[in-house]
């Protein structure tokens, strides 16, 4: 399979560094007290830990001065106290830092998912839902890992470095100068690394997204893969994607190991100069051997924290890239609610001069006018691809029309606002997704406050109560992916029950009964009829029986309304609908 033309998707945006920082800052502000407490405990813990080197230096001096074994007792007891105190402070500080990080992370992912679910559908489709899924799964996981491992480690190391440098200065300011000889090398190394690593990590992230996409594609379509004996090919596809992530990961590792090799040079230079400084200072009498020892031990004990802190630049890079992808979605424009949302007067629908094209130059709807009275039932009829689904989505406010206007209950959709539109109109689309979880939870998506009795009532209205009660655990049965598998007809009944619960004045059924097969279709038609009672119904019909029982039939062809009228009028007119009807009834009667 060639890879060309696959990357044309317009992925969801990624935030800039400033936007990301602002988002993190905003989260942090909500937990100021916790942050202060965590940092304080960590400073105390690290400070205690730093007493180790001078205590050891002191012991060296005691030995050099031949003070006798008894003199050792006090520093030794202090060292034990230091070890225990450091352990306790580390444990407490780490758990505070983790609490801070995890709470912020939960806030971040919840806000992100909220924004993601409110994105316009068009935007998600443009990017591919794999993009969104990988952000929701991989990126969240990666940030969580950083928060869990990198954050405590980084705070510990950074504090250790700062306090150790202070300790060196306290021994003699010239030791600090000697230690800082290594700093330029470290700065240059970090710059060398960051410049090269960023593009590699970005590419790795993209490759991981592609792998995720492929896995979801293959795993979700596993039945089809097996039926067509495509297992080998799909495993190869996964292998290809996986290999490219491995290649990029290894390129990142080459950079990282190069980075540490350069840091080794900084260690050598720093250690050498501290030793030379000790040599000079001891020779001219401004320092004892014990002080020189403590300085050398201090610097030596900096190796690990410096490496740990700088390696976390690596993790921080990955986490920052993931974070930017989460924040990027949050920066997408939100749906604008009008300042004073209008209320629909009734259940009427008025469409004027509506045109739409998904891809510029490929119009799907052309200048459509349509009026539906409140409570009326209108069937939309037309060949596949005539634009029925698009019209349905535009009326439901899911897509923005390229031109023209839609008014519900006498109010333009723009004045209703997204929330008002959702309350006014419900669209049951061809998708029959059953949400993973209990059946009751699935239904409550449409009306979260509904009690079990209401759920039963809604199910009874669409004729689904009998089979639901026959399920192993009734309403509490776990359905959806990984749970009890519902038939297509059952899933569609569930969709209709959600409609009853949402109880909007206008309902649009887009081929909702089409997918169930003819046997289930009749049951579903009756269910749909009952679900539509008391509201305006726009039914995208393929079975012309649905059209025949509607108050009015509107025929679409190539994106235009070509006929409208009652079933009888259109049959009598002998136009396109009459032809369709003839073909329909022929296939049923001529045999």
């Amino acid at each position: 399979m060639s890879g060309t033309g696959r990357c044309e998707r317009e992925l969801l945006p990624t935030a800039t560094g400033a936007q990301t920082a602002a988002a993190v800052g905003a989260l942090l502000r909500g937990h100021r007290m916790l942050a202060v407490a965590a940092v304080t405990v960590m400073v105390v813990g690290t400070g205690i830990g730093l007493l180790t080197a001078p205590l050891l230096g002191h012991i060296v001096d005691l030995v050099v001065e031949r003070r006798g074994a008894a003199a050792l007792t006090v520093p030794m007891v202090l060292l034990v106290v230091v070890a225990v105190g450091r352990g306790v402070a580390t444990a407490y500080g780490s758990s505070l830092i983790a609490r801070l990080g995890e709470t912020m992370l939960a806030g971040l992912r919840e806000r992100f998912v909220e924004r993601a679910l409110r994105l316009p559908l068009e935007r998600v489709e443009q990017a591919g839902s794999g993009d969104l899924t990988s952000r929701v799964t991989s990126d969240v996981t990666l940030i969580a890992k950083s928060v869990r491992q990198a954050l405590p480690e980084f705070s510990r190391s950074a504090l250790t470095i700062v306090l150790t440098l202070v300790g060196l200065a306290v021994l003699d300011w010239r030791f600090l100068l000697a230690a800082l000889v290594a700093a330029p090398i470290q700065v240059l190394t970090v710059r060398w690394y960051v410049r090269r690593a960023i593009p590699v990590y970005a590419a790795h992230r993209v490759a991981t997204g592609a792998l995720q996409h492929q896995l979801l594609d293959s795993v979700d379509g596993a039945r089809t893969v097996r039926a067509f004996r495509l297992s080998g090919k799909h495993v190869d596809l996964v292998a290809g994607r996986s290999e490219s992530t491995v290649d990029l990961a290894l390129r990142g590792i080459r950079l990282m190991t190069g980075f540490f090799s350069r840091l080794n040079l900084a260690e050598l230079v720093g250690l050498g100069s501290v030793l030379v400084a000790g040599f000079v200072l001891v020779r001219n009498g401004s320092a004892t051997i014990g002080t020189a020892t403590a300085a050398a031990l201090y610097f030596h004990s900096l190796f690990n924290p410096i490496n740990a802190a700088l390696v976390l630049i690596d993790d921080a890079q990955s986490a920052a890239a993931s974070l930017a992808r989460l924040v990027g979605v949050s920066t997408l424009p939100t749906e604008q609610e009008p300042s004073r949302p209008a209320r629909p007067m009734d259940g009427s629908v008025k469409v004027a001069g509506l045109s739409h094209a998904y891809v510029a130059g490929h119009s799907v709807l052309r200048d459509v006018d349509l009026e539906v009275r409140s409570g009326e039932r209108v069937a939309l009829v037309g060949a596949s691809g005539a634009g029925k689904t698009t019209l349905a989505k535009l009326i439901a406010g899911i897509h923005q029309p390229s031109a023209g206007s839609v008014a519900l209950g006498g109010v333009d959709i723009a004045d209703l606002g997204p929330a008002g539109t959702r309350r006014t109109v419900t669209l049951i689309s061809q998708e029959v997704h059953v949400f993973a979880g209990t059946l009751a939870d699935d239904l409550r998506l449409a009306r979260p406050e509904a009690g079990d009795a209401e759920l039963r009532e809604a199910l009874a209205r669409v004729g689904a109560l009998s089979w639901v009660e026959a399920l192993p655990e009734g309403l509490a049965t776990v359905v959806g992916e990984g749970g009890h598998r519902l038939t297509v007809a059952q899933s569609q009944q569930l969709a209709l029950a959600r409609l009853v619960l949402a109880d909007p004045p206008i309902a649009i059924l887009d081929e909702a009964t089409a997918d169930a097969g003819s046997a289930g279709a009749r049951i579903l038609e009756e269910a749909a009829g009952r679900a539509l009672q008391g509201r305006t119904g726009l039914v995208v019909a393929h079975r012309l029986t649905q059209a025949a029982t509607a108050d009015r039939v509107v025929v679409l062809d190539h994106g235009r309304v070509v006929e409208a009228g009652t079933h009888e009028e259109l049959i009598a007119a002998g136009g396109r609908y009459a032809t369709l009807w003839a073909a329909w009834s022929d296939s049923r009667n001529s045999v």
Partner: protein, 564 residues
Amino acid sequence: MVAGGPTGRDVLRAAIGGQRRHLVAASVLGIAHQGCEALVPVVIGVVIDQAVATGSLDVLLRWLLVLCVLFFVLSTCYRTGARAAERAGEQAAHRLRLDLGARVLDPRGGAEAGRLPGALVNIATGDAKRVGAVATVLAYGMSAVAGLAISAVALLRISVPLGLLVLLGIPPLLWLGHRISQPLERRSGVEQERAAQASGVAADLVAGLRVLKGIGAEAAAVSRYRRTSQDSLAAALRAARSRAGHDGAVLALTGIFIVIIALVGAHLAMRDVISVGELVAAVGLAQFLLGPFQLLTFVNAEFAQGRASADRIASVLAAPPAVPVGSAALPEPVGGAVRLRGVSYGALRGVDLDIAAGSLVGVVARDPAAATDLLACLGREADPTGGTIELDGAGLAGLDPAEVRRAILVAQHDADLFEGTLLENVLAGTAPGTDAGRAMAAAAADEVAGTLPHGVDTVLAERGRSLSGGQRQRVALARALAADPPVLVVHDPTTAVDTVTEVRIAAGIRQVRRDRTTILVTTSPALLAVTDRVVVVDGGTVTADGPHPDLVAAREDYRSVVLT
């Protein structure tokens, strides 16, 4: 593919064993690296002893040169060794991903039962990565052990009691560390499980985004996610507390251990058993020991997480197949005569049916569940609980499921399209070089291509969800027809297609499938009209059998199912 149900331990062992070469190289180089690291404090001690204490510039320069050489070796070993270790981890994860992919897509099926696709994807990415990380840290662990050993030898050379102290002190210290990490292992299992669940819920909600938008349930969906996210947070906090306690305890323990070494060393120095420089080296070594110790704790924690991940991976790999593999072969060439005897499964209660090779037969099932169950048996996604199905006289249950599907293609009603162009989708089940034209025309998928911006080369975004239901059905049907199997079973292929096109498709199927066995499971009269005969399944058994016009004429119940 691991046969017979691997355990988490097997998964870990295979992941490590598979990378033996890299891991050995990484360990050897890592050991050299740690050895050099351990020598750094020794050299510091020598410099203090022989240069700083004596004020000899010559000696200082000589030992600084030694330090340079030491760092060069140290740096080179690290760079090469770490690359090998990380390569091992990446490759082990890659292999696991492929094993998982192969198991989930295995013709025998059964691995996806009870799992969200999102959760499976998470196992194939996150868990595979964590098990791979175990291979990587194993090399680091080896080098840490070596670092400990080298320090011990250096200490033994300085003083035997000091060296023995380190050697005897380490095992109880490690044992304590292990004991402390046990609750962590359990909690990090729960933590990861909850995280995977939150991840799965988010992926499920994103997958159902169109439905959510249709009923305006975004707010309800958000609060549902918030609940699982909070559960995940609670588990993460419990694990974090446990981890923090673990880290603190290990830190305190190692600190006390070093104090003991320093104490003994200082006493020895007081009694002139060792020099001041040797005391500095001993203390430096004791401090250096923290590094390998912490590395070992890290390795231990990674192992704990890796084991939890390996268990999850093993549970997928060991999932019992939906159908067992058979060994019998189909007679060549496949004729296409299908015979069902007393088949019971789900809604089917003793179905007897003979379908002659090359015939076009309609199956009308009153109960949609009966249709679904029949398809499952014919495609050998499940074996009947009673009775037999034979193809050309060979029982399906004795055949490899892949072999069955080579002969019998079941085109599901809700078949998935895949990422790729329309043409790639249609040709998915064909030999290279097959012409898609005939199948496309028969399924009226050529019309679909005509409405797309780049025709047959249009990339179907979202596995074809950017197409309308009718368009998607036609592409899926074209794919089934293009595959040209000896037996084709098609389930309701035209439910979302308008009637005029449906009639055209019925004629197309008839023409393309001439002399090939074809079973149309449908209640569409347009499709049934082109069949040779129709079999009605009602109440789980065959209740009527005959040509469509005869059934229409003779049976009221048939008319009521088919002609509404």
